[in-house]
Amino acid sequence: MIASLRPRGGARSRLARVSTKLKNRLLHREVTVDIDAYEVLFLPSQTRRIRFAIKGDVEITRNLANIPIPRIYEYAEVDALAFEQQNLREPGKEEEDDDALIDNFFEELKTAVVEGCVFKEGYSFPTKEGRFTLNRHTLGVKRPQGDDINPFYLILPSLYPESTFNFQGLLDFPAGKNLFPFQRDGVTFLLEQENALLADEMGLGKSIQAITAVRLLIRAKAIEKCLVICPKSVLTDWRSKFEEWAPELRITKIQGPASSRRGLWARKSQVYLVTYDTLKEDVLNIDEEKAVQLSFDLVILDEVQRIKNKSTQTFRAINKVGGRIRWGLSGTPLENRVEDLTTIFSYLKPGLFRAYEVGNPLYVKSAITPFTLRRTKNAVLKDLPTKTHDKVLLELGARQQAVYNMAERTGVIALKEKGKTVTVTHVMALVSKLKQICNIETASGESCKLEYVMDVLQNLDETGEKMVIFSQYPEKTLRLIKPRLQRFKPLIYQGSLTSKQREEVLKTFNEDEDMRVLLISLKAGGLGLTLTVANYVVHFDSWWNPATMSQAEDRTHRIGQTKNVFVASLITQGTVEERIQRILEEKRELFNEVVGEISDEGLTRLLNEKELFGLFGLQRAKNRSKSQDISVSPRQN
């Protein structure tokens, strides 16, 4: 007997939501289902299962093959629905979690994976009389008989082609998919290295090279399980790339609530995709029993600079993941310091450096060279359209200028009043506030940058070209300028969107010609996305690290882009923005001298306390023992 348990409060609304979704999903399929009553009922708590019940008097009239099915169960208990009652009763859960829960439940029967081989046809060789061919019969292939059959008579030489660097004929690429020659070199490089850093410039297809290498290794039976760890924004992109480039591999995307994830980790797959944050949660679970033990034949770290800091939980979590083969992918591996590289390699190639060698940039560079491959677009993609940079210096409007002056003056006074207690955080807070005013003055809505953007967009009216606008302040800038750009039907992409919403935004922007502007939070959309449909990029404000901005604009300047790309960095004259810019440009030259081509993208801000305080004519407090770099990362939104 199924008992109905009425959940309380917010849980009830979630239950209703999930029930409706289940029903819709069921009805949405091609199955014609006549269900006049449908409920999800909770069992008493001791069973900790949910029953999926279709009430009596229900007939499914037609199934997928259009064949009548006279009757379905009065109550169909579904064992596979092993979601704990608790899952459904957490009112705070996002809709995204509901979808994951339902997805697992109503999984369609998918087209089967087919494997197999063509047998040796025979050999042909030249003789004096001409070519001589030995066919299969001449070779005496043993004919299998009855029970004595050995499957390998049938399956020889192997179910999988052997690993080879000559792809011709052995690895079929899906229709229309071909690697550039330099990408084939990249695949070869990865296959030769158990520990590798593929540091190609943005847009050269690092993930595709890695996927092809994974595919070859799996087909050659060199590996069975592979883990790809990536930022959240590109998780879906990785999956779709795997589906495009290696459709025969079984992929599991690790996401959803923790209890579902345990099941996903246990699922048999060849490739597991997970974000850094999810991995951190699962591996470093305080409850040791719940912590997932992970070991793979191959671990790929996308945007490997995420583990540059040894003291972070991310680094600790990654180090708990076992992997015989370890590859890192990054367009900008050397963001801030040489130590970042040594930390990255402490995972990719443990034991590469001894302690006293870590601080020597020249040694570090020579040590990592055999394991690093970096190509630039200029070198390998001569046909790719150009990317033009433009630093646009703008003058604040009168109202904006007045508010800015007032804010800076009062801010500096406040800092001075703090005396020796003033910290980097205080200065950073003032910088942020001033930069926001430079973007838009909230009370009057005045913004010289917005005016500039509107002008450019109007000029683009005839050509219909699209623009991507990056800012580090999604709420205090992007949200504020969005209504003013309404004419160009702007879309917004920021961290607070769910994965599904993000996908929808990108899909709409890519497919709908009327959507001309995409407003992107630098943190949420700076990595991994492909936005080649746009060829105008505007940095509404500048981030400390030019490499981060460069990564962001390369969302448009990558393979697939057919037009020349124009990048504009907007800087307001006579403000803190201009002062920061000047220091960064000086640093850029200094940094290049030390680390050379490895870091030509990874320019660092390298702003120490003295320079930061100097922005406002302040001096560093004397009680600080030594200069320290200010480590800042884009604000999470």
């Binding site: 199934n63 099915i69 089967a112 399956i155």
Partner: protein, 197 residues
């Protein structure tokens, strides 16, 4: 001017091939589709099989009686036919529902059945008038006569091809080969463990 095919290529192009497609079911592994292509001497030219599929309780409920047909034709049969490089001249299946592959196969499709001794010539009731039942006898190899069911009449040329094949190759035995091979694969290769859906 078109490039002249190599001797191996010419040899392959000239090889007549027959295809045998079936769906295996085991309680433990689930359903596996397999497709063997041999020449007219019974020597394998190509072999493809699917990873095992194990529908879950919801899928079993919703697909009902159509489950087998759906898995056999849509999920396994069509991809198998699309996957093979060597296109056969004749396609044999051993399950009635696989006859639906006739619409997708590049050649005539036949359901192979052993003849039941008590009523060798009767048309099975489960097939309507659009299906044609033909009894084929083996040549010098002396295999037991078999019954072939197909949609529409069998052309004379096709019939000759079948007789030529059946004089050399025991058609029913070809299905046994695949059954044994897939059974062994399930045991030997961990990759072929079933996927619970």
């Amino acid at each position: 001017m078109s490039k002249r095919p190599s001797s191996i290529r010419r040899f392959l192009l000239g090889t007549k091939a027959a295809g045998f497609l079936t769906l295996h079911e085991t309680e433990k592994a689930g359903y596996t589709g397999s497709f063997l292509i041999t020449d007219f001497k019974g020597i394998p030219i190509e072999f493809r099989c699917t990873h095992p599929l194990k529908p879950d309780a919801v899928q079993r409920s919703l697909y009902g009686e159509a489950l087998l047909s759906y898995i056999g034709v849509e999920i396994c049969g069509k991809p198998l036919i699309n996957a093979v490089k060597k296109k056969p001249k004749l396609l044999f299946v051993d399950k009635p529902f696989l006859l639906k592959l006739d619409e997708h196969a590049p050649c005539p499709t036949f359901l192979v059945q052993e003849i039941e001794e008590d009523d060798a010539s009767a048309k099975p009731e489960r097939f309507d008038a659009t299906y044609h039942v033909e009894v084929i006898e083996s040549g010098y190899n002396g295999f037991q006569p078999i019954e072939l069911v197909t949609k529409g009449e069998v052309k004379q040329k096709t019939r000759e091809l079948i007789e030529q094949l059946y004089s050399e190759v025991n058609i029913l035995e070809s299905f046994e080969r695949m059954k044994n091979a897939v059974g062994s694969l399930n045991q030997i290769t961990s990759r072929f463990k079933s996927v619970e859906r």
